[in-house]
């Protein structure tokens, strides 16, 4: 006979094993070696937390009492998974793109990131699921008590409470350790998932082992078994059909709405393709889990003494046959079912409580903007840990208060009906864009109220909460409000009664209120994002133009998701925008991205509120409103993308066109230069040749000789100058120039330039402010003077005013200085401005200037070599050039 102590020892060893498994998985995941942790097999097995202790033990009891009806509980989820292409696929995609953390977050996020809806759903599931957790504690204590008192029905008082308490404490420890390890953006818990996958295997093996023992150990195979079934009290096919259909629907709906199922199905989903495998593997798992339920029930009814608890046949049948090892395995299976459910349910509930109740309240209390100072990350983690402890404590308290009796065994279906109230808001939210937050709230609250009144409160037993008189006559004698006979419809099974009425009222109110109300812009946008998730998974666009500083956002993000992750996100965003460093431009896209990343940790509503603090006063722009007001928002969005692309193309085309124009102009210039330079070379050459011929002939007087030699020399000088310029430019362009750095006053440089250029054009009047020019420079002063000479000479040559004036102005420009040369002529026309700095460019007719159009090109090259620049300065009333002095070299005079 197994002793109680041995049992405790085995259970503890098993728990220690689970801790080790979870720990190892976390370690591997931390090393990035999580490939196999992300396999479809693990995903499918993790879905098995649908099978709780209620199904492990209870299914047999259910079958013993109601025949094949237990199958509905498995068929519903099977159909949902086989039909994954309809709902589950969409939920998973939404969960992924919107970074959904829980079912409350899904509802809240869909309906405009509403805090109120998050709170409603959270309260609903806490109320509905806490008894369910209590049920798991009860099943653990019951299974322990079987070994103490094989009758099973009368648990030994003191040890029973101790078992429940220690189980709850141990589960809290495990959940806090592995469920709140990280606040990572995806809310995934590798350790927990692997642990529940292991537990899934344990409970399946346990049930199969008991089943095989029953069919082939006690019975004599399948045919014998079928004969026994037909001979048993549950042989008749006699269920009322409506209840079967109702229960199938209920279990299918609960499969989608149960927080723990949502957690493993959507939140922990690592890859959408896992669904393809799970679509057949999970129904297969359920089939195997339910395969031997009827044989065990039938044999249990056959062999066990009358009055023994059929819920515990899985344990008591092997025990009564003296198979202690099998009983132990079966015990571990039940234990696994209970613990895995409690762990995941607690994580899911704690996430909701902390994200939708604790953190929003905390944020509201600290509205004064001191958030940056506070450690949000720590607060969220603490909130989650406290929530885990609180949820488990609540379950334990419920277990103690309810006395652990029969009241609990019905709680499974009751909880199903409770969470199913979320279904209309959820399905409506992902398929119908017209669903509004008010509609969802109306449906949820009404369904919740009806469920509490007709099913939840009466489940505590007659007179426990609702007096028997009210049950019979209705509150204040209002007969049509009787909890089990709404509107006078009597005689329906209470679960079906509550489900039909609550779903009817819930769905109707949801639809009607949705149709009557008008959603706010954010709701419309989220609605479009959810309903059309497959068309554009691009992301939400929540904020318009904003003044939020990237640095503030980075500081906040670091507080929430940790420094490394936050910096990685900002770095990626900055790179995507083509910016160096960690601070991207705060574009609406970036805000939306950041909000989604944060939502992965603290939920959509909270993330929105937090980001909102920094983007205050800039919620939704007019463009956004137009985008959502139009029913074809998706088309608009698509065409906006196209527009952006075509704008980009147009821009590129514009640049190409400009480049082409410039090339054409340059080519024209080059042609004209070639003819120009041949002309320039030819004219002096011609006169040199002509006069040298005259001189050679020798029949000229000395005075004429003198004159002709002078002409020949002038022309030779002109040729030399031209060739010098060409050579100079070539040297500058190829960077072979040597700079002779020296210190000197800017004023002196300008003086030298003026005097060098001066003699040739006395007509030009110079306006200078010599005081401004007292600037110390350290650069190649000769070259700088060359630039100035060129500019002054240009003004002399080209300024076409009657009374030409050249202003030379020195101004501070940022860290350096700029020298502007502004004349009062007609200036340079815009189409010429882009080519004046090119080689060979000459604007006026060739004869007048006497240069080859190389001056400005040389100036530009010189200034580039000196580290400064020269530009045409438009809008000054005449031709104006700005010489930017090299920054590091300009120093104010001491």
């Amino acid at each position: 006979m197994l002793t109680f102590n041995l049992l405790v020892l085995v259970a503890l060893a098993y728990v220690a094993f689970l801790f080790a498994v979870a720990f190892a998985a976390e370690r591997r995941a931390a090393r990035g070696d999580d490939g196999w942790l992300r396999s479809p097999l693990i995903y499918t097995l993790s879905l098995s937390i649908y099978c709780t202790a209620w199904t492990f033990y209870g299914a047999v009891g259910y079958a013993a009492r109601s025949g094949l009806e237990y199958l509905t509980i498995y068929l519903g989820p099977s159909l949902v998974m086989i039909g994954w292409f309809w709902v589950v696929r969409k939920l998973v995609r939404i969960g992924r793109t919107q970074r959904i953390t829980s079912i409350a977050d899904l509802i809240s996020s869909r309906y405009g990131k509403s805090t109120a809806l998050g709170v409603i759903v959270t309260i609903l599931v806490v109320v509905g699921i806490t008894p369910y957790i209590a049920l798991q504690l009860q099943s653990i204590t019951l299974s322990f008590s079987v070994f103490v008192d094989p009758g099973g029905d009368v648990p030994a008082g003191a040890s029973r409470d101790a078992v429940a308490l220690w189980s709850a404490a141990g589960l809290a420890l495990f959940t806090i350790l592995f469920g709140t390890r990280n606040l990572d953006a995806n809310e995934r818990h590798h350790g927990v998932v692997l642990a529940i996958a292991v537990e899934a295997v344990v409970k399946l093996c346990a049930l199969l082992a008991v089943g095989i023992f029953v069919v082939w150990g006690i019975g004599r195979g399948w045919t014998d078994m079928l004969a026994r079934i037909d001979a048993s009290p549950i042989a008749d096919w006699s269920q009322p059909g409506g209840r079967g259909v109702g229960l199938t629907f209920l279990s299918a709906a609960a499969f989608l709405c149960l927080p723990r199922m949502f957690q493993v199905l959507v939140v922990e989903n690592g890859n959408e393709r896992h669904l393809v495998t799970a679509s057949w593997a999970f129904p297969l798992y359920l089939l195997l889990m339910s395969l031997f339920v009827v044989p065990i029930a039938v044999l249990g009814l056959d062999l066990m003494p009358a009055g023994s608890n059929p819920d515990l046949f899985v344990l008591t049948l092997p025990l009564s046959q003296g198979r202690d090892g099998l009983a132990m395995l079966s015990f571990l299976g039940g234990f696994s079912s209970a613990t895995s459910m409690v762990i995941v349910a607690t994580i899911a509930l704690a996430t909701m409580v902390s994200n939708h109740i604790v953190v929003p309240v905390w944020l509201r209390l600290r509205r004064d903007g001191s958030m940056i100072a506070g450690d949000v990350r720590g607060v969220v983690l603490l909130a989650r840990r406290v929530s885990i402890a609180a949820v488990l404590a609540l379950g334990y308290v419920y277990f103690r208060l309810s006395g652990g009796g029969a009241a609990l065994s019905a709680i499974g279906l009751i909880a199903f009906v409770g969470v199913t109230q979320i279904l209309p808001a959820m399905i409506g939210g992902i398929f119908w864009r017209g669903a509004t937050g008010l509609g969802a709230a109306a449906g949820l609250v009404s369904g919740f109220a009806i469920w509490v009144w007709t099913l939840f409160l009466p489940s505590f037993g007659a007179d426990a909460v609702i007096p028997a008189q009210v049950m019979a006559q209705g509150p204040w004698g209002i007969g049509w409000l009787r909890p089990h006979a709404f509107f006078g419809v009597q005689g329906i099974d209470p679960v079906m009664h509550a489900m039909i009425w609550s779903m009817l009222v819930n769905t109707s109110l949801f639809l009607i209120v949705s149709m009557l109300t008008f959603p706010n812009p954010l709701e419309r946008m989220q609605g479009a994002q959810f309903v059309n998730v497959f068309e554009h998974s691009a992301g939400t666009r929540a904020w318009g133009q904003t003044a939020a500083a990237a640095e503030d956002l980075l500081i906040m993000a670091q507080r929430i998701i940790g420094a490394a992750d936050a910096q990685a996100i900002f770095l990626r965003a900055a790179q995507a925008q083509g910016k160096p460093g960690y601070l991207p431009d705060v574009t609406p896209d970036f805000i939306a991205l950041l909000e989604r990343e944060l939502a992965g940790s603290v939920g959509a509503a909270t993330a929105h509120a937090m980001v909102g603090q920094f983007t205050e006063g800039a919620s939704v722009t007019v463009e956004d409103l137009i985008a959502v007001a139009d029913e074809a928002a998706q088309i608009l969005e698509y065409s906006t993308q196209l527009e952006a692309k075509s704008a980009e193309l147009e821009q590129t085309a514009g640049q190409l066109r400009a480049a082409n124009e410039k090339l054409t102009a340059l080519s024209v210039q080059k042609d004209s230069f070639l003819s120009q330079i041949s002309h320039e070379l030819r004219t002096p050459m011609t006169s040199i040749r002509a006069f040298s011929e005259i001189l050679r002939d020798g029949d000229t007087g000395p005075a004429e000789q003198q004159k002709y030699a002078g002409i020949i020399q002038d022309e030779a000088l002109r040729l030399t100058r031209l060739l010098d310029d060409l050579l100079d430019l070539d040297v500058l362009e190829h960077g072979q120039v040597e700079l002779h750095r020296q210190r000197g006053q800017l004023r002196d440089v300008i003086d030298r330039a003026v005097s060098a250029a001066g003699p040739r054009g006395g007509r030009l009047r110079l306006v200078r402010r010599r005081a401004d020019e007292a600037i110390m420079l350290e650069t190649d002063l000769e070259r700088l003077a060359q630039v100035f000479i060129n500019l002054i000479a240009n003004a002399q040559k080209y300024c076409n005013a009657a009374d030409p004036v050249l202003r030379i102005e020195v101004a501070r420009l940022g860290a350096g200085y700029a020298v502007d040369f502004v004349d009062n002529g007609t200036g340079i026309s815009p189409e010429h401005r882009q080519v004046i700095f090119e080689k060979f460019s000459r604007l006026t007719d060739p004869g007048r200037a006497g240069g080859a159009g190389l001056g400005l090109a040389i100036c530009r090259e010189i200034m580039a070599r000196l580290g400064g620049g020269i530009d045409y300065l438009p809008g000054q009333g005449g031709a104006a050039f700005r010489v930017v002095l090299p920054v590091a070299d300009a120093m104010a005079a001491q």
Partner: protein, 87 residues
């Protein structure tokens, strides 16, 4: 030697994939209908009995799982583009 038929304009492979998706969508409906068939059976003593019902339901279930398995093998999740859904 008979000439092979000219290739259809629409891609055969992607057309087959879309029909596979239809089949995946249809499967749960078929399953639900199948689950409701036992409701038509006569109840009580002249009914087929729970043994037969058990066999039927598990047979249906296993059939659905097998169908889902085959479909999941045939489906290529890579081209998850619903843009082609309009045919």
């Amino acid at each position: 030697m008979p000439k092979p038929p000219p290739p259809l304009f629409l891609g055969r492979a992607s057309y087959r994939q879309r029909r596979l998706r239809d089949a995946v969508r249809l499967l749960p409906v078929a399953g639900a209908v199948g689950c409701m068939i036992p409701l038509l059976w006569p109840r009580g003593a002249e009914g087929p009995g729970n043994g037969l019902a058990l066999l039927y339901l598990f047979g249906l279930w296993a059939g659905l799982i097998a169908a889902a398995f085959i479909l999941s093998r045939a489906m290529r999740p890579e081209d998850d583009t619903d843009a082609a859904e309009g045919e």
